[in-house]
Amino acid sequence: MKIVAVCGMGIGTSVLLKMNAEKVLRTLGVEAEVEAADIGVARGMSRDAQIVLTSDELAPEIGDVPAEVIIIDNFFDLEEITTKLKAALPE
């Protein structure tokens, strides 16, 4: 499974999102590769990803990709990330 964490610049928010998503996935026992990406390369990287994590403002910029786009409001809230990832993960 491939997950892409997207932010505007690729050094800040997406890195935090990637770290916390990895933490959640470890707890859930899910094997997945999480990559951080800036908005410029996100669309390309999201083509072969199953899940894209991003913020409300950036979601429209990612456009139409096959991956499920999940919007995270609080990047530090592991519960929010857990709930939203769980809902998107295949059974």
Partner: protein, 150 residues
């Protein structure tokens, strides 16, 4: 860049209870602190503001917290971080996480050099924000950060 957030935040990198008129002013303060530590030139501050003008207030990543940053550029001299707590909360225009009480400024020379500090930052900021914002001097703030880094 040191791996520890507390070590990274020198006195120059910290502004506590800073007054700010609006979100641009708040980001400017975080940029001024980065410049004061020698991490960036003043141009980087303009780049951080331009990033929000272009992409929206997505840098407000959690309730009350903005992570002001732009991308690696010639305006970044060294990877660095700054910490600006605001005297009064400021609206950034974020639907879920306004108003902002803490602006963390981030400058990175590449995509990897700051990862240990970011991991430390993520741990610290998932803790009690009110307690961190209660710090009245840099030494107290560093002590609280160290406490939350365990």
């Amino acid at each position: 860049m040191s791996e520890s957030l507390a070590d990274e935040l020198s006195d120059d990198a910290i502004m506590l209870n800073a007054p700010a008129a609006d979100w641009r002013d708040a980001v400017r303060r975080a940029g001024a602190a980065l410049t004061a530590t020698g991490s960036t030139t003043e141009e980087y501050t303009a780049e951080m503001i331009a990033a929000v003008e272009e992409l929206g207030p997505y840098i407000v990543i959690a309730p009350g917290i903005a992570l002001a940053h732009s991308r690696p550029s010639p305006a970044v001299l060294n990877t660095g971080i700054s910490w600006v707590s605001l005297a009064s909360p400021i609206e950034f225009g974020h639907a879920a996480n306004d108003p902002v009480r803490l602006v963390v400024g981030l400058a990175a020379v590449d995509h990897d050099s700051h990862l240990a500090t970011m991991s430390n930052l993520a741990g610290v900021l998932s803790g009690d924000l009110d307690r961190l914002l209660g710090a009245t001097n840099p030494e107290e703030l560093r002590a609280l950060i160290r406490e939350n880094s365990q």
